[in-house]
């Protein structure tokens, strides 16, 4: 089996010294060296990949590079002997994350091209597996949670409708998560008119799904809200054809929140957490909602529709005010592939963070750094809230024109529906996908947010003495 061997600078094992010199490999972080055959055991069929690793480098990144370097192998092993347990686990987790690939919808086996990711199994070799303990279990739980989210995001929209996504979420019951569904016909009765309106153009009806992790602390829940557009054509304000296929991933916010719930369940978090997931499909239909429509939100504010393609903020608005009214949560964090604007602002590397609460914002920034899913705080202002004044309703959904700070305006809009509850909005419109694979990242959905939310809960909401 091909082996990943982490080495530190100045400590390249003798059998590889000559090859390393020839290739200029000095075991700096970011360096890898593929050695065909294994001069130690003399096994000619075994490949060895040396990866540079030191105490300060990112072990997950090194693991990812290892998986990319051995992509054509079905099984690989990571040699964690002599490494600190945390490094060995991080190295393996990084390799496993990089080894993700799209769900296989081919007739035959997964693409057998040389470059395509083939890894099916990764083993970690340590001297004493029993001692990996909790750290290993948590890493595996987190990996499972991230894969759960990434698979849902990648799934095509003809196969993943609001109804079938609800079915997928029901599987979380096996992990101890309560699943509650408010179906399409009950939405208006609950006052969730924005969600109902956005879903109206599609033959696949919308729904609101609630996931409950009870935890053990006798406190109200922290609430995650995730945007779940299983497909977004833009509706009557239809999008251009180019890259419209990416819109099958416009439910990444909901998938990530569900994944985070699974991560909490897998490590048996003491904190009660509820996810509120508005699911809908935004289609061009005879019954579709229109620009100019005025709709009364769950909150009570009436909303003038300007652009049916700014639908995410509508379904979030209803979900936020529903969650606050029903749960009086300790905090609400919503995640959404909300805007292209945040992609222009921050690119693929960081998500946009908007918050009405400085402490929550700082906690999220810290959790993001710790989890390798960084967020950068951006402003929304009173001036922007005022710009959303409508001639006919309480508030306009968005503005139209060139060079608008649409991500900030989206946050300003949402802020009207949350009142005083500590709230953060994370716009993952840039971090949700990678267009191309590179050493560090697989192509496709990243699952950005699962680890961030899990880490936020761990950092901030699990201490019974400091609720």
């Amino acid at each position: 089996m091909p082996l990943v061997l982490p080495v530190t600078e100045g400590a390249i094992p003798d059998p590889f010294a000559a090859a390393a010199r020839a290739a200029g490999f000095t075991a700096k972080p970011e360096q890898t060296l593929l050695v065909p055959g294994d001069p130690v055991s003399g096994n000619p069929h075994r490949e060895l990949l040396l990866v540079g690793l030191d105490g300060t480098s990112d072990a997950e990144a090194a693991g990812a590079r290892a998986a990319a370097g051995l992509a054509s192998c079905r099984e690989i092993a990571v040699d964690g002997r002599g490494l600190a347990r945390s490094l060995a686990v991080a190295l393996t987790l990084g390799a496993a994350r990089r080894a993700w690939r799209f769900p296989n919808h081919r007739q035959g086996p997964p693409d057998a091209d040389g470059d395509a990711m083939q890894i099916e199994q990764i083993s970690l070799i340590v001297d004493d597996p029993a001692h990996l303990g909790r750290r290993w279990r948590e890493a595996v739980g987190l990996l499972e949670a991230t894969v759960f989210a990434r698979n849902l995001i990648a799934e095509p929209a003809n196969l993943l409708t609001p109804r079938s996504l609800t079915q997928e979420l029901r599987h979380l019951e096996a992990a101890g998560i309560g699943v509650e569904v408010i179906p399409a016909k009950a939405l208006k009765g609950e006052g969730l008119n924005l969600l109902a309106a956005v879903g109206r153009g599609s033959v696949n009806p919308p729904a609101l799904v609630l996931l409950h992790w009870p935890g053990r602390l006798p406190l109200p829940p922290v609430v995650f809200v995730g945007k779940g557009m299983t497909f977004d054509t833009g509706g009557i304000s239809i999008k251009g054809a180019d890259r419209m296929w990416d819109m099958r991933g416009d439910m990444a916010g909901a998938a990530v929140c569900a994944g985070a719930m699974l991560a909490l369940a897998r490590r048996n978090s003491p904190a009660p957490v509820t996810a509120v997931l508005p699911l809908a499909e935004n289609m061009v239909g005879a019954a579709a909602y229109r620009p100019g429509d005025v709709i009364r939100s769950h909150h009570g504010l009436t909303v003038e529709i300007v652009d049916t393609d700014a639908e995410g903020r509508l379904i979030l608005a209803d979900a936020l005010s529903f969650a606050i009214a029903r749960f009086d949560p300790r905090a609400v964090i919503d995640l959404a592939t909300l805007t292209y604007s945040v992609f222009v602002a921050l690119g693929r590397e960081m998500a946009g963070l908007y918050a009405n609460d400085t402490v929550l914002a700082a906690s999220l920034a810290a959790a993001g750094l710790a989890a390798g899913e960084p967020v950068w705080r951006l402003p929304f202002t009173e001036g922007q809230r005022e710009q959303l004044a409508s001639d006919i309703a309480d508030i306009k959904q968005c503005l139209s024109g060139p060079l608008l700070p649409d991500a900030s305006l989206g946050a300003a809009f949402l802020s009207r529906f949350v009142g005083e509850t500590p709230w953060a909005h994370i716009d993952i419109g840039g971090t949700d996908l990678r267009d191309e694979a590179d050493e560090r990242h697989a192509a496709g959905p990243t699952g950005f947010g699962v680890r961030l939310l899990d880490r936020l809960i761990a950092l901030r909401y699990e201490d019974p003495d400091h609720p």
Partner: protein
């Protein structure tokens, strides 16, 4: 510029009068006397308008007292929240509401002398108007306000406090004039000429043309300029206000001065291209700042540098794909000739470091559309390699009302400008492009504390603000004056 006078309180007999009221405070003193003279009309108006002294709120009365034309009530908000910025905005509201009055008297006995001075500053800043090219405007359409008198017990102290603010206002006016001038008038050569006027204030002004820059090796800047018949200039303005107490590293400010930006061969669409006359607003702000600092004799050594070019498409213009060698020696593949500002800054920043060994450098540039998409028009984008400088800029922004918002830098963004043929290329993708532009500029920062302010959303306003009529804002002058005043003066 609006004439400003300070006097001790005397009951006004003619013209327009302004009463300032904080929340939950009753009229006293001169205000109470006026109310009595009006037969209680002022109190009734306050009642009817539900005026409670709210910040930014005003109520106008016509001829409430024999001899007075207008009376304006201006809310100051809650007294404990009163800042110089709040009174500046009150001053701005006065200038806007009473522009048809010739003279205005403000009863300001509730204000401290510095507050009274800032009130006057706000009025002056709001009363700015660029009238040079209106030849047929009817007199009745022109604003008539020429003077404002602020009445306060401590009028001598207020007058003293106003002197440096007047210099600041002159810097702001200068910057606004430069930014407003059309590009057929304000060429690089003309702008350099106008910088010479700063010598009267004691600023040492040095101008370099294409020959000097060629000799130095400014390949990046000259590549941008080569498409235009207008020759480029670099202007170096030195203000030595620290008094030579001990030799100290100067503060350096660098401005992008593209007097017109067509985009070059990578030409911009026609719609909105007229805005590109203000693509020199970074340089305009630096010139205005130097005028303000010298005008108030700031006790600091400061150097302002501006790179002035016109970016035109022509037979001699730079092409996408060209490779230029910058003054730093680093080579640049120019993939988009409309990403020209960073090329100008690259050479001027490197020169500033070679020549002046600065304590820090702050550069200002109308650099990217992406920063507008990221932050809108209420914050300039700030990128910095130095926590301390970033902190100070943030607090100066809050104090001056010219706010900044910090944006990230990082290796992951720097990768976007890797070139196949040169040390770097001048653009990455559209996403994160304001950050990528900052990464490009950072490659020309040689281990100095540095901040880059992307002011593309701040330089020009399509609507009136409290102290800034629509048009050129001179964003950056008040911010950086405040930075120097609060942290770097001996």
């Amino acid at each position: 510029m609006l004439e400003v006078a300070f006097s001790k309180p005397v009951p006004p007999k003619a013209g327009a009068v302004v009463l300032l009221l904080a929340e939950e405070e009753a009229m006293t003193g001169a205000a109470a006397a006026l109310n009595e003279a009006s037969g209680g009309a002022i109190a009734r108006a306050i009642e009817v308008a539900a005026f409670k002294g709210q910040k930014g709120k005003t109520v106008l009365l016509l001829a409430p007292v024999e001899g007075l034309t207008r009376l304006l009530l201006v809310g100051l908000g809650k007294r404990p929240d009163l800042t110089t910025l709040v009174v500046e905005e009150a001053g701005g509201a006065i200038a806007a509401a009473l522009s048809q009055e010739a003279g205005v008297t403000v009863l300001a006995d509730g204000l401290t002398p510095p507050e009274a001075a800032h009130l006057a500053l706000g009025a002056v800043l709001r009363a700015y108007r660029f009238d040079l090219y209106r030849t047929k405007e009817k007199p009745e359409d022109k604003p008539k306000l020429t003077g404002i008198t602020v009445q306060t017990e401590d009028h001598t102290k207020a007058r003293t406090a106003y002197a440096p603010l007047k210099a600041l206002a002159e810097g702001v006016y200068l910057a606004r004039n430069l930014v407003t001038e059309p590009a057929n008038v304000l060429t690089p050569g003309e702008m350099a000429e106008r910088c010479k006027a700063l010598t009267k204030l004691g600023v040492k002004v040095e101008i370099m043309g294409p020959k000097e820059m060629e000799k130095l090796g400014f390949g990046a800047l000259l590549g941008v300029a080569q498409g235009s018949v207008q020759e480029p200039r670099m202007v170096v303005m030195q203000w030595n206000g620290a008094g030579g107490r001990k030799p100290r590293k100067p503060l350096v400010f660098v401005g992008k001065g593209v007097t017109f930006d067509t985009g070059g061969i990578s030409i911009k669409p026609a719609s909105g291209m007229e805005d590109m006359k203000w693509d020199m607003a970074g340089a305009g702000a630096v010139v205005g700042l130097m005028a303000a600092l010298a005008g108030r004799k700031a006790r600091a050594d400061v150097v302002g540098l501006v790179g002035l070019v016109e970016n035109m498409p022509s037979g001699s213009a730079q092409r996408p794909g060209d490779v230029v060698t910058s003054y730093s020696g680093q080579t640049i593949e120019v993939l988009n000739t409309d990403a020209e500002g960073r090329l100008v800054l690259a050479d001027v920043l490197w020169y500033a470091q070679e020549k002046f060994d600065p304590a820090f450098m702050v550069n200002l540039a109308t650099l990217t559309g992406a920063i507008i998409v990221a932050l809108g028009q209420e914050h300039g984008g700030m990128f910095s390699n130095d926590e301390d400088l970033a902190q100070k800029l943030t607090s100066a922004g809050i104090a001056s009302g010219e706010k900044v918002w910090r944006m990230p830098l990082g290796d992951a963004y720097d990768k976007a400008i890797k070139s196949d043929i040169a040390d770097m290329k001048n653009i990455g993708g559209r996403h994160g492009s304001a950050i990528i532009a900052a990464q490009f500029i950072q490659r020309f920062v040689n281990n100095k504390p540095w901040a880059h302010l992307d002011i593309a959303g701040m330089a020009w306003s399509s609507k009136d603000a409290a102290c800034t009529p629509k048009g050129a804002t001179a964003y950056g002058v008040r911010l950086l004056d405040r930075l120097v005043r609060d942290h770097y003066e001996a």
